[in-house]
């Protein structure tokens, strides 16, 4: 006797039906839609520590981008079928087309159809491929909608739910499903899909095999769409023809934890469901009339500081019930409960409904997998470290502020940095508020796809430290540009991978020596200087870095003056930015020797005639800041640069460089101010008119409050007044004396 049970994946109603049915007919073997390679994994299903939602991960060890997940929630009919079988010591097998064939076939079609590199690498990561990816789209969009429309529903999904999922009277429901699907398959034949045919043929083959092994009572659990194809069996020969000579690749499987949010179709999952949290609820409380759900909602609201009384809950449940009876439903569904929540608890506003959706309807649940399951060693190491450092993997995000002066926090930070180096992006580092280099803020959120990343990186080593180190070394070896390696080094130092740091530094040294491009060197140095500052908190190789910085700076000094000539405006702008950063970096280092050399370089640049004017202006300005150019010398250089013989565009560029970003400095630095101010004052009218555009151009770079203040300063005389004597020509002392008594009286001074 063969029983075909057509189900909806992750349908709690289907799960209940399957469970009841199996308990009633007591089959001696259960066949479930799924990859046969995962058969050995089935023995774990009744393990106490395997807590759904979990997924079977099937991957191709030599090409990890090609992998598939088969998620199971507690309310998945497949899960119920498997647990039934395990609990009652009945045989249970997966019966879908083996993933090895599936992937191999896909490889072939891919080669035929696509130019290499046309598609992204992960064609099929987390599509729930066996269960109706192909069928689900067709099934959901077209045919079922016809049945639903015939029954007067506007949505196929909803119709299915009311017809089969919420059904109380379960007799013959599976026959009805098969019959309905049969009609659909006849009325709306799907375009020939070779893969679908193969899959159904393989399922039939598995069923025949079971019959051959003399099983008497066979229960088959499959997606509803496939049910008719398994009821009416063609001749075995046809199927065998079809399945002959299929290509095959090697695959491996394991259990991994899954999350409810990954189960929802919001995350792009083909056979996804809209409300895993709600399904979980009705699976555990099938008799709930909405009261328990509303109580959950109220509890959630209360934790968010929103007053919700018991009376609210009562009213909401009542409204949901009357809505259900108004719509001729025997019981309030999620929609009725949501509408009641919004109307009664939220005063009609829809804002809070998002909260309910995230926390309850989808919910943040994450599954668990027992320690003993054979896992890649890297995965084990990560789990060990997670446990030791008390950093649990959660589906919801959690923030950690780490104080690197504490031993445990430092270790956590090292661990997280290492994972990041391995591209296992569990944690995300955020800017931390406040000063000091000893604090780090991390936001951690586990995501089931990380499992595949971990397996992929397993090639590099069996522990996090080892894998990260080797991975970085390999990357540093491949890197062709200085900035890549410095970027790598910046992350490697906080990860405390000493050998990798050494390799990075070496690689930087080699690249720097080979690089003729001074700009590239200048881009890298500020980052390295930043890195060397870590030395204060972390016991790392800051000295090593400093050595490199020294040699790189020397190289820069030598070739910089030549690099500043004959530049376009844009290139000069870019170089100016680098100058700015490099100057900062030199100042941070505070090494007299390096600073001295830097100043000499600047002098050379400022003095050279063919230096790009903007750079020359900026270099002059830096020299003035270092107090190497002062007083008359500065005035002379300034006037020289701005003299009438210089073409206006050059003069403008020089001035722009000279006053770069110093609107505020101009306000407070009297010397700079009087320099510019006096220069403007001595210009005759004609020259003034001709330089006005240049000044405008420079000053337009300042922010508008700065400009306003500068204007005020000019108006009131400002510091410029100090240099300019007051008008003193015609002071009539006699007349002035006459006013004195009045002023004294006003000031309250007796004369």
């Amino acid at each position: 006797m063969i029983h075909i049970l057509g189900i909806r994946h992750h349908g709690p109603g289907s799960a209940k039906n399957v469970k009841d049915f199996l308990e009633a007919v007591k089959p001696d073997i259960v066949l479930v839609e799924g990859p046969p390679e995962a058969d050995p994994l089935l023995e774990w299903v009744t393990h106490a520590e395997l807590k759904p939602p979990v997924a079977i991960l099937v991957y191709q060890p030599d090409d990890l981008q090609r992998s598939s997940f088969y998620p199971f929630a507690e309310f998945s009919p497949e899960w119920q079928a498997i647990t039934y079988a395990r609990r009652n010591k009945v045989h249970v097998r997966f019966m879908d087309l083996p993933m090895g064939h599936h992937l191999a076939l896909e490889n072939e079609t891919k080669k035929v159809n696509e130019a290499p590199g046309a598609a992204g690498p992960s064609v099929n990561s987390y599509a729930w491929r066996n269960n109706e990816v192909a069928a689900a789209t067709a099934l959901r969009k077209d045919p079922i909608a016809y049945l639903a429309a015939a029954a007067g529903y506007d949505d196929g999904e909803k119709w299915w739910e009311h017809m089969f999922e919420h059904r109380q009277n379960r007799e013959q429901v599976f026959d009805a499903v098969t019959e309905a699907m049969q009609v659909l398959r006849e009325a709306f034949p799907q375009p020939e899909d070779h893969m679908e045919q193969l899959r159904e043929a393989w399922m039939r083959k598995t069923i025949r095999q079971a019959e051959k092994e003399l099983f008497q009572n066979i229960a088959v659990i499959c997606g509803a769409w496939h049910a008719p194809a398994l009821v009416s069996m063609p001749k075995p020969k046809e199927d065998n023809e079809l399945l002959k000579g299929l290509p095959k690749v090697k695959v491996e499987c394991t259990w991994i934890p899954w999350t409810y949010s990954r189960l929802s179709y919001y995350s792009g999952y083909g056979a996804g469901i809209g409300s895993p949290g709600w399904y979980d609820h009705i699976w555990h409380h099938p008799a709930d009339d909405g009261t328990r759900w509303m109580a959950k909602v109220a509890k959630l609201f209360r934790t968010k500081q929103m007053d919700t009384s018991v009376a609210h809950v009562i009213e909401a449940v009542r409204l949901a019930e009357s809505l259900a009876s108004l719509r001729n439903l025997y019981k309030a569904g999620l929609e009725e409960l949501n509408e009641a929540t919004q109307t009664v608890l939220c005063n009609g506003e829809s804002i809070l409904m998002q909260l309910i959706n995230d926390e309850l309807i989808v919910s943040n649940r994450i599954g668990e997998v027992p320690q003993q399951i054979p896992k890649p060693p890297l995965q084990l190491d990560i789990e060990k470290l997670q446990k030791r450092l008390r950093l649990p993997a959660t589906a919801d995000f959690k923030d950690y502020t780490l104080d690197l002066r504490k031993e445990n926090d430092l270790e956590r930070s090292i661990f997280l940095h290492r994972l990041q180096l391995l591209d296992i992006n569990w944690g995300e580092q955020h800017e931390v508020s406040g000063k000091g280099t000893f604090k780090e803020l991390w936001r951690l959120q586990w995501n089931p796809e990380l499992s595949i990343n971990i397996i992929e990186k397993g090639n590099w080593g069996n522990t996090v430290a080892e894998a990260a180190e080797r991975f970085v070394i390999a990357k540093a070896g491949e890197a062709g540009t200085l900035s890549t390696v410095t970027g790598l080094l910046e992350h490697t130092i906080p990860a405390e991978l000493h050998r990798a740091v050494e390799v990075c530094i070496q690689s930087i040294n080699n690249l720097a020596a080979a690089s003729g491009d001074v700009i590239q060197l200048m881009e890298v140095v500020p980052g390295l200087v930043q890195v060397s500052r870590y030395g204060s908190v972390r016991k790392t190789d800051a000295d090593l870095v400093l050595g490199i910085v020294n040699s790189m700076l020397t190289r820069i000094y030598v070739s910089l003056p030549a690099a500043c000539t004959a530049l376009t405006d844009e290139a000069a702008q870019k170089l100016l930015e680098l100058f700015f950063k490099l100057n900062d970096a030199v100042n941070v280092l505070q090494q007299p020797d390096l600073t001295g050399q830097w100043q000499q370089t600047l002098q050379a640049i400022a003095a050279a005639d063919n230096t790009s004017p903007m750079i020359a202006g900026y270099a002059t300005r830096l020299l003035a800041d270092f107090r190497l150019l002062e007083g008359d010398a500065l005035v002379r250089v300034f006037h020289y640069a701005m003299s009438a013989a210089t073409p206006p565009d050059k003069a403008a560029a020089w001035l722009e460089g000279f006053l770069k970003g110093s609107g505020t400095i101009l306000l407070v630095d009297e010397e700079l101010w009087s320099l510019v101010n006096n220069w403007v004052n001595i210009l005759d009218e004609e020259t003034f008119t001709s330089v006005l555009p240049l000044l405008r151009r420079t000053f337009s770079g300042f922010s508008s409050p700065e400009r306003k203040k500068l204007g005020e300063k000019v108006k009131t005389g400002g510091a410029g007044a100090a240099g300019r004597p007051l008008a003193d020509a015609s002071l009539d002392e006699e007349r002035a004396r006459q006013g004195i008594p009045v002023i004294l009286q006003l000031l309250g001074i007796k004369s």
Binding site: L319, S322, L326, T343
Partner: protein, 359 residues
């Protein structure tokens, strides 16, 4: 044809209600004229089994009407909330007409609404002559609907002073209205409930106390989702207006209605329909109801002062009247809209000219 200026919903749609009642075989809540399902059909329209067509009164989300009707079957009162002109009073009138067959049990909320207007008042001549007695008591619509088991309506609930609002608490929770002067009370008969409306744009309103809020289920009526939906609403309402006012004008072309609705929607949302241009938003609400009255107004203009055909010139005054509520700021907004959005549109030249002449 009735000579009344405006008929109540139950008068105007008497035939529909009667047909519904005939077809309606389900179980009715006590004192309801129709089953809840039939009330929803009355509001959202539909075809009855015998082919009788029920016209839709509320065009929009059917689920909202279901929530409203379901609320009335429970012992919570219904609060319809939303911007002015989103059909709150309209829905309230039709709900009570369909449920109780009577939409006249109405209290208009104002800042001056007193407790006597909600609970009961006294006929002072009688009170002085005979002392407190049943005869000297003046019943309010609320008291009467409690006695008769009908739906009472309160318009603009939030405009009523907070202390007066709270007199509703006893009525809504205990379902009784004590009359201490006579040492009696009026207990509500089954079928009694309250539909209140309130709008969330007004200033100087009195927020409901949380005790009172808890007695209401709130349904927020939104502005129409799509332009098609809004055009449909305007069209239907204008048609019924024409019929009642017996205007000798031709019905407006759909084109004309579409333009009005487009102008209103664009100014309301602050962006043109193609989503490309940002527009300043005027201070008025520019609801669907106002669009309807602009078209009605234009029809009247066309009928009596024009050639009987609705032209841009007939509409212009109405549009400006509803957009420019603040003579200084809104005028600028409107002029900007006129010059940047209306003017460049090829087939809107007539409306541009008509509006520009008026400013």
């Amino acid at each position: 044809m009735s000579t009344l200026l405006r008929q109540h919903a139950e008068q105007l749609y008497a035939q529909e209600l009667e047909e519904l009642q005939k077809q309606d075989t389900g179980k009715r809540p006590h004192n309801w004229k129709l089953t809840p399902q039939a009330v929803v059909t009355y509001l959202t329209g539909g075809k009855l089994k015998n082919g009788f067509e029920v016209s839709p009164k509320y065009i929009g989300n059917k689920r909202l009407m279901e929530i409203a009707v379901a609320t009335l079957t429970t012992d919570r009162a219904l609060l319809l909330y939303g911007l002015p002109g989103t059909a709150k009073s309209w829905v309230s009138e039709h709900l009570s007409a369909a449920v109780s067959g009577d939409s006249t049990m109405i209290v208009q909320g104002t800042a001056g609404t007193s407790e006597e207007a909600i609970r009961y008042g006294w006929n002072y001549a009688r009170l002085l002559a005979e002392g407190p007695s049943e005869k000297a008591l003046v019943e309010t619509p609320i008291m009467r609907s409690m006695k008769e088991g009908k739906i009472a309506r309160i318009e603009e609930l939030t405009r009523i002073g907070a202390d007066v609002q709270d007199t509703l608490i006893t009525i809504l929770s205990e379902k009784t209205l004590p009359v201490p002067e006579l040492n009696t009370e009026v207990q509500a008969v089954k079928g009694f409930n309250v539909i209140a409306t309130a709008n969330n744009r007004d200033k100087g309103v009195n927020e409901l106390s949380s005790a009172l809020k808890r007695r209401f289920n709130t349904v927020i009526l939104p502005v129409p989702d799509s332009i098609e939906e809004e055009i449909d609403i305007v069209k239907r309402r204008v048609e019924s207006f024409e019929k009642i006012m017996e205007l000798p004008a031709e019905p407006p072309a759909l084109q004309e209605i579409r333009r009005i609705v487009t102008i209103f929607r664009e100014l309301r949302s602050g962006v043109t329909t193609d989503g490309k241009t940002r527009i300043k938003i005027p201070s008025g609400t520019l609801s669907t109801a106002e669009a309807i009255s602009v078209v009605n107004n234009g029809l009247a203009m066309a009928a009596y002062f024009g050639d009987g055909q609705l032209k841009a010139a007939d509409l212009a005054a109405g549009i400006i009247g509803s957009v420019v509520k603040d003579p200084v700021q809104d005028k600028l907004v409107w002029q900007e809209y006129l010059e940047t959005v209306v003017k460049p549109r090829e087939d809107w030249k007539d409306i541009y000219r008509a509006c520009r002449d008026l400013i």
